[in-house]
Structures are given as structure tokens and as C-alpha cells.
Symmetry: C2
Subunit: 354 residues, 2 copies
């Protein structure tokens, strides 16, 4: 009888089931793109039930005339393919001190791959819109109750005209060369590169041009930075991804042996491109440059590495710090905010070398 082989593979980390929130096991992946089963799942509601056959994308509001488009209509537009790292605004929330309420995400509420679709601008070119237009509202099919309200709401977000009309803001119908998966927004997902992923509305139902500031609860209550614990004073919206980096290996509190180690991880930014990744092996006293290849897309992460030859056994406090082309860099401590968004302190792992 042949010997039995065992398969060992990482699983998504469950953070919640109703709605489903599952995290990519980023520490255990060396992949540059995530497949549908590795991609993190972040939902606000139960998955919407869709009737695929009758699907049409609705356009309304301050446009020249209401329009609805079938998927076949959309496939006839010129398409763009973008490599984008989508990152939940709550990525790394679990690291805030003091802790912030909400899903206690670790390092894996980020995933990347190739999104293909039609620039939102091209669709709006078709419909035309009023000169009073201020924002574009994108509403998904997902909807339900909120813990802070008795009403039900759809998931809906707005973009300022400038971001909505940027040619990299697309209505995507493919991921990694295949139709979107159900859990990740089939049939259409808005992709807003460079912004935290709350902007990339799934299961797009309707696009509306409005002449005011949209104030749905996922725009005006959630996805706001509240610097104060007790009041809403000083609140401002979550938009562009902060410059950030993550150490994938070694892991925090790992014990390692030997005299050569490859410290590796990723770095990304929502603005410009990553120009430097530095590693400290002495808790921030001194810094060393990590090696990486410049990204091919401004919206993808870079994979960096640093060859480490520890000269003694014992404990080490390892930090990673990324800097982008606009001069933004990571600080030792993240900007604390009540809802726990945009965590981007230097990443930190402690290891013991034997």
C-alpha cells in the first residue's frame, strides 16, 4: 500500500460570520496575487441574492437621461486591466492601543490581483451629466440593519467627481481573468485604486449623479476618522490608503535557528509609489535598506526582503518602515482614531534566535 501524503495549506482567518469577515493568511502566502479563495472577505451585511439573468446596471440622478446597461452592453466598452491591492480600512485594527471597537483584523485584510473593467468616466460620458453634479453615488445590492440604528440601509458610497472620473476608477467585471466571484461582487464591482476598499462597492446596483454631499451612514458615520474617544470633533473622511508595510516572515514571537534569515514582507501606498523600505533589527536604533523591485502598477504592493545574519543568539525587535514618493513615511505609533481605521504604524515582530 502506498504511503499517504498530507496536504498542508493555510486557511482564511475567521473574524466574523454574520456578516462574513475573513482574513487572508498573508503571513503564509508568498504569492503576488490572491485567488478567490485566498482573497479577504469583508462584508457589511449578508450576501445579497442576485437574479443573474435579469441583471442591469442602473444609472440615474443628474444625468441627461436615465439609462440601464446589461453586462453585454458593458463588455462592448473599451476595457482596462489594473493590478490593485485592495485594503480594508480596518486592516490591522487589532494592533491599536488602546483597542478600537470593531472586527479585530490582523495584517491580512489586504489582497491583490488583476481587475478588468470599464472606466466609470466612459460610462458617464455615454449618459452625460448636469453641471450641478458634485458626487457620484454607487449603491450595492447588499443591504440590512445597523447596530446603531433601527432602519435598514443599502451599502452605498459616494466619490467626488474628480476621483469618480479618473480613468483608473473602473466598474470591474473580471478578476484575474475570470468573471468576478459571487463573494467578491459578481457581476460588477467598483474598483477605486489607491483608496481604502470601502470605496470599492461590490454587487453594484445603481450609479447616481448627485448635486450635494452624500450622507449615507457608510459615508457620514462609518469610514470617518474620529480622533476623539468621546466626541465627533475633528472628524474627517477615510479616503487614500496610508503608506504601510507588513512583515510576513518571521512572525511575531517566532523562534528561529541558524545564522541566515530572510526577512520578507510587502509595502504599499495609496499615493505615489514606494521608494524605500527600511528594516531595523534593534528596535529602531539603526536602519537597513530592504531590497525590492519597483512596482509595475502604482496600486500594487512591492515585495521586499532583507538578508539577515544575526551575530548573536537572543531576542530581537524587528521593525519595518516604508516611505513613498510623496514623502509620507510610517511612524512608530499609529494615529489613533475611535473606529480604528488606517492603522499604519511601523510593523513590529519580536523573535528569538537560537
Amino acid at each position: 500500500m502506498p504511503e499517504r501524503k498530507f496536504t498542508v495549506k493555510p486557511s482564511l482567518t475567521t473574524r466574523g460570520l454574520l456578516p462574513e469577515n475573513q482574513e487572508t493568511p498573508l503571513e503564509f502566502l508568498q504569492a503576488d496575487t490572491m485567488n478567490n479563495y485566498q482573497f479577504f472577505r469583508r462584508n457589511h451585511f449578508e450576501y445579497p441574492a442576485l437574479n443573474q439573468a435579469s441583471y442591469r446596471l442602473l444609472l440615474g440622478g443628474l444625468i441627461k437621461q436615465p439609462v440601464s446597461l446589461s453586462l453585454q452592453d458593458l463588455y462592448r466598452f473599451p476595457a482596462r486591466t489594473l493590478k490593485v491591492a485592495l485594503e480594508c480600512a480596518g486592516n490591522k485594527r487589532g494592533f491599536f492601543e488602546p483597542k478600537a471597537f470593531g472586527e479585530q483584523w490582523g495584517k491580512g485584510a489586504i489582497s491583490q490581483g488583476y481587475w478588468r473593467g470599464v472606466p466609470l468616466a466612459n460610462i458617464l460620458d455615454l449618459t452625460g451629466f448636469s453641471s450641478h453634479a458634485e458626487e457620484i453615488v454607487i449603491k450595492g445590492y447588499d443591504h440590512g440593519g445597523r447596530k446603531d440604528s433601527d432602519k435598514t440601509y443599502p451599502y452605498a458610497r459616494s466619490l467626488p467627481l474628480e476621483k469618480a472620473l479618473h480613468l483608473d476608477t473602473i466598474i470591474a467585471y473580471e478578476y484575474n481573468g475570470q468573471p468576478l466571484s459571487y463573494k467578491h461582487g459578481y457581476p460588477l464591482r467598483l474598483i477605486v485604486p489607491g483608496w481604502y476598499a470601502m470605496a470599492s462597492v461590490k454587487w453594484v446596483r445603481q450609479i447616481s449623479v448627485i448635486g450635494t454631499a452624500f450622507n449615507g451612514p457608510f459615508q457620514a458615520n462609518d469610514y470617518m476618522y474620529y480622533p476623539n474617544k468621546e466626541t465627533d470633533e475633528g472628524a474627517f473622511p477615510v479616503t487614500v490608503q496610508n503608506v504601510n508595510s507588513t512583515i510576513q516572515s518571521p512572525q511575531d514571537m517566532e523562534e528561529v535557528s541558524g545564522r541566515r534569515h530572510r526577512i520578507r514582507g510587502i509595502a504599499w501606498t495609496g499615493q505615489g509609489s514606494i521608494t524605500r523600505v527600511e528594516i531595523s533589527l534593534d528596535d529602531g536604533v539603526s536602519w537597513n535598506e530592504a531590497a525590492f523591485h519597483a512596482s509595475s502598477s502604482p496600486y500594487e504592493w512591492v515585495s521586499w526582503q532583507y538578508e539577515w545574519k544575526p551575530d548573536r543568539a537572543g531576542e530581537y525587535s524587528i521593525l519595518s518602515k516604508a516611505t513613498d514618493s510623496t514623502g509620507r513615511t510610517q511612524e512608530r505609533k499609529a494615529f489613533w482614531n475611535r473606529k480604528g481605521y488606517g492603522y499604519n504604524a511601523m510593523d513590529h515582530v519580536k523573535v528569538r534566535v537560537h
Copy 2:
């Protein structure tokens, strides 16, 4: 075309892949027993490749005569079925302050179900053994290197005679009515109820009676409580499970709405039985009795619940505390030890009520 249904289920939480260490998503299970895919996986080495056809259990050392038994031989012994919660000695290691090196397990390195097999005592009755016998060594097929050594070792552990000969210490060949799964020890796993699960050796290869104290590294180096960070002074072995409890719902930093909540979880002990579970809603100032049914087996956990009607919105610090029939109870802070074993502080979650 019909509407599409989505399946949502929790995954094991990956803590390591080489060797495979994956945690049961206990917070998301209300089950009383775990199936093979929900059961936590804790390995010291790669999975061993076994030749099933030629498998024989070897017995040696200070026995009257060396013996080997086929699985068919074992099936002819009278069998016992025990409901047992197996808990990794490192369960909850991630909660130690200061942190302890090693796999950063959360609350899910514990799982339970029905193990069926032959009392080790009955097998040793068959072979007989010398009056000089002191310990029984159980060696698994799994083997490999260690981070603190250049040699390779098998996974092997010993039991004192008294525990080895207890009729509840069994060589198990079935889990939940089916042959053991490969990942959980097929064809045979020692089950040592009441002790942390490092004692429950998987893929049992050989049982040896010895006249000395076994000093393999998984007995004399690992699975020892080291109370001091820098020295081995005061070390003592990890054996019986501490009294313990876990809050499964709500989760830490969860936001909840409404005026009725069921706080629920489990409690267990390796000694006696659980006699009381208390819940505090004010960070330990006052305590309330949780309801539970007495366990049917001394080795299973009890599932408890407490119906909570918060009288105000805001933040709550919730604690759970279990007490067993031998008078052991949980303290606010766990006994810190360098390798991070036996964490059993009161469980603690913070929630916000809307």
C-alpha cells in the same frame, strides 16, 4: 435562473504551516464535538508517512517478552469510549503578558469528541512488566529537528505508571465513531484524559516500559513550566489541565445592539469537575452565576450561558471564572512561565452596547 445561495462557514486559523498548527474557530462553533476538519491541529514535525499495510504496534523495554500487535489484535481487546476535550498546553499563549515565545494560540487550541480504544493497562496486562518499571514511554512516528539542537528526535513522551495504568488512558483507534483521521494520529493515538494534549501522542509507534525518568526533549526541555525568564530554576512538568473557561460570545471588542444578550462559552478542568461558572459584567466587581448542565464525562467541557440584560448603553468589561470540585479557580492573571503553557486567567472580553 435561480438566485444563488452563499455558504458561510468558519475556517481553522492558521498559526504555522511547517509544522502545521491550526486553531479551531471556537468562537464561531456552538457544537459540542468537533469533526475532523474543525479539530485543532498541533504538530511538532512534518506529518509522518506511514505504511498502513505493515503497521504493528511495538512493545518493548522492561516487559516479560517483546510483543508487537496488529490493529486486528487491538480490535479484539475490550474497548472504551471516552468523551474528552484535548487542549494544547499552549492554548491561549497569545494572551500572556509579557508575551511568551512560540505559536501565538488564541482560544481555539482545544477540541473535543469521542475517542474509542483499548486501555493501555490492558495491553500491559498482556505483556506483563518488571517490578523495576517506573515510566511508560510512548513514541510516535513523527520525528525531525529542533530549533535548539542539531540532532533529530522522534516525538516521545512518558507517563508515570499510575497515570499510564489508569483505565481511562487508552490507545485510541476511533474518533467520533470513525477510524482516526491521518492528521489526528491514524492508526493509533494515545489519549491521556485530564492532561494537556502533549501527552496524547499521535501515530503511536512504540510503547516502552523503562526503569528511570524519561528525559527526551519533549519531556525534559519542552512542556516544563519555567517560572523565570532567564534561568531554569523552579521548573516543573506540565501535566494536568488547569481549571479554565472561555467566552465564545460576544467576542472581544464586539459592538452589540439590543437589550438582551446571551453570553455563552465553555469551562473545563483536568481534575474533578466544573462546579461553578461566574460572569462579571463590571470588570470583576460583582459576579453572577452562569447556567450549565453538569458534564456526563469528567473530561469534557461544560457549555454555559448567562442571559444578560444591559441596563445602559456603553462599554462593558466581561469576565468569566470557573471553579472545579477540587476548589481550583481562575485568577485574574495567569501564572507566567517562559514557554507560555497552561494559560488560565479569567477570560475577558470588552464590548460596546448601542
